[in-house]
Symmetry: C2
Amino acid sequence: MSVLNLETLLRPRTVALFGADRAPRSIGRVLAENLFKGGFDGPVMPVHAKEPAVQGVLAYRSVADLPITADLAVIALPLPEIPPLLAELGARGTRAAVIVSHDSIAAETAEVAALEQAMLTAARPHGLRVVGPACLGLMVPSQGLNASYAHICATDGDLAFISQSGSLMTLMLDWAGARGVGFSVVAALGDMIDVDLGDMLDYLAFDVGTRAVLLCVDHIGDPRTFLSAARAAARLKQVIVFDAGGIKDQALAHARFGGAGAVSTPDDFRPSRSEVYDAAFRRAGLLPVPSLADLVAAAGALGTGIRLGGDRLAVIANGRGIAEVAGEVVLEEGGRLAQLSDETLAALDQVLPATWERRNPVNLFADATAARWQGAVGPVLADPGVDAVVAINTPTAVGDTLEAARAVAEQHVGKRTPSQPSGWRKARSTRPGVCSPSIGSRCMTGPAKRLKP
Amino acid sequence: MSVLNLETLLRPRTVALFGADRAPRSIGRVLAENLFKGGFDGPVMPVHAKEPAVQGVLAYRSVADLPITADLAVIALPLPEIPPLLAELGARGTRAAVIVSHDSIAAETAEVAALEQAMLTAARPHGLRVVGPACLGLMVPSQGLNASYAHICATDGDLAFISQSGSLMTLMLDWAGARGVGFSVVAALGDMIDVDLGDMLDYLAFDVGTRAVLLCVDHIGDPRTFLSAARAAARLKQVIVFDAGGIKDQALAHARFGGAGAVSTPDDFRPSRSEVYDAAFRRAGLLPVPSLADLVAAAGALGTGIRLGGDRLAVIANGRGIAEVAGEVVLEEGGRLAQLSDETLAALDQVLPATWERRNPVNLFADATAARWQGAVGPVLADPGVDAVVAINTPTAVGDTLEAARAVAEQHVGKRTPSQPSGWRKARSTRPGVCSPSIGSRCMTGPAKRLKP
């Protein structure tokens, strides 16, 4: 539709809550807890037909009873109650609603469709924007706004994560929470009867608090407006997109399901839905990633706040095997391995055994001590032909992972990115000690696919 | 070469140790600690020119002084000392040696090559088999044999892990140690002047303690004997192979390094080294995996001990987005999604909201309770058209991950595999409570690539 009233949606001064519940683990209860505990500055006013208070906060009987107009309504009522509520809210002056109410509450698909249409009919005349229904909700950490029933709250940061799917949103939150990656906005838009991915992109393109946008796309309702929004946003921000709807590629699915003869029809030579989406994303300037893991990796890389000056990577590792595998991944993924200068090679000759291969990836050998790490990382970081260093320490009984990590961190001069992925168990203990905003760290299940900064 | 004396290598009754060291974190010290503390039943006899004892164990001055002949010699001496030592050991009756001595101890590449040739010349007349040099060593947990300087010891199990690279071996050990995956043999073969991947495959094919073999290949010295061994082994055991040497694909590397005109030569249309390796692996009946992460995943899947009766997978998840993504990954990776029977669909109708899509992947919706999990997993597991169930629980504030995992575990009837990948932080706490040998569990950075059992 447009960015009309999205500012009110994401920066409301007052919030009304509908559908709070007492039952433990109910959506209505978690939603109320999240709203009350999110740290929101303005009033969160519960509206409840029966309860005098919700979690200790005075409840009002109806929209009419609200002492002040709510900018934003957050709604967890059964679907049939929502259209008249939206009409009343719109008339009172509310300009945005987040409807988490799940369609599983309604009986039939046809009934849900009719109710959704009724919601739109009620909201549109007032310019009341609707997020959902059947959405997990949204968070704006800088506003203390948590209008969702997610299990954890995002911390403040400058990444936006916009998804249609709530389950992918909670996965991202769960991951990011453990890694200290913060967000400007986190939203799962659900059925997208009104506010859609394009609208959010249009808004976020000009949001000063958002540096990059992570998108999870299931389907695109209106390709024209989406692509127009995507093009505009991609000019101003980095936009990473994961296509979560590939299973809708019916040709593929049908063939794989074993549908007889499905493979031999001319349709099979048409580009698949995924291919069309991928081409459109690229054309619009978005960066498509092939898997959820890649989207998470992108969040991790963007979350460091580092912008690299180039893509010439040096790989330094305490083992030939892991160094080679890492170097191969860099090449396979379209990255570049930096060529070390003669000066750097000469400096490395001083600290490495005579049999070292005098090239990038640099193998420090399994008996690498912290001193050798230090002596090697320094010259490589100083090489003007190197934009970033990927340092990989595999656990050994001979070297000390923490000392190796410290040696790398000490050599780091601020302008480049030594990333410090290590072995599984040891890495965890080293991270807090050496990581800084300009030093990424990964504890990997494998170096493959995740090495690019 | 052959399996000659590999039984002695992997099941020695007596071990001699050369090159023990006092210096903390030295290879010689760690090696000695690992040998003494591994739980080996027979004597481990240190041989040392100066020390009267090594870590409290009486040391002998020379091979001649050893009170009994050692079946296996484990050597961490400088390379130049090794050829005469091997000749002496061979003459005395020792039939296998693991040489961890690193080539970084020697001065020049040419010197290393000459010394390695001298080692072979000394060993061959006696049929003394040599592992290494420049290897991390090997472990046979069932024998309490840890002839390596790895930082942790493998636990006993029925997977064999054979690598050329020591760093990839320690990565695998670090991962497996934390996950309870056990091994029959773990070996990093290093420079492979004698015992090579093919020899190990030949031996392991008939090793009753080994159910499956994980191979990390850097390069194959003798393709003919390797492929012959691979074919034979693959007939008897599952053999998973990861090609860790792809960077040697010089055409690709050269083109990517920016070599002028490199892309336009006719050579570029020849199959690359990686393609040749991949084709050869498949032809021999091995299963190549594209990344180290996949190899680790294979170890995890094989480590459960489950053999599936088929590849018809059902996906059950508490969210449409994650269910669809998982289903897509199954299809993309060449797997099959089971078609649910009418009986199963009818049973699911009883527990799921009316709007559910009546197909696999099965979405339990974000408000799934443990009861809904239980009600859904039971019928799907009982469906004769379903070979395995992948159950994905994304964290929510409404459902309880542990309860959901327990509900799945309780429904599990032993013949199939509910795998239980969950959100990052919550998953960790649920694992110990619900995992059994027939229930895999993953804490994923993304469902992609890792869902197949």
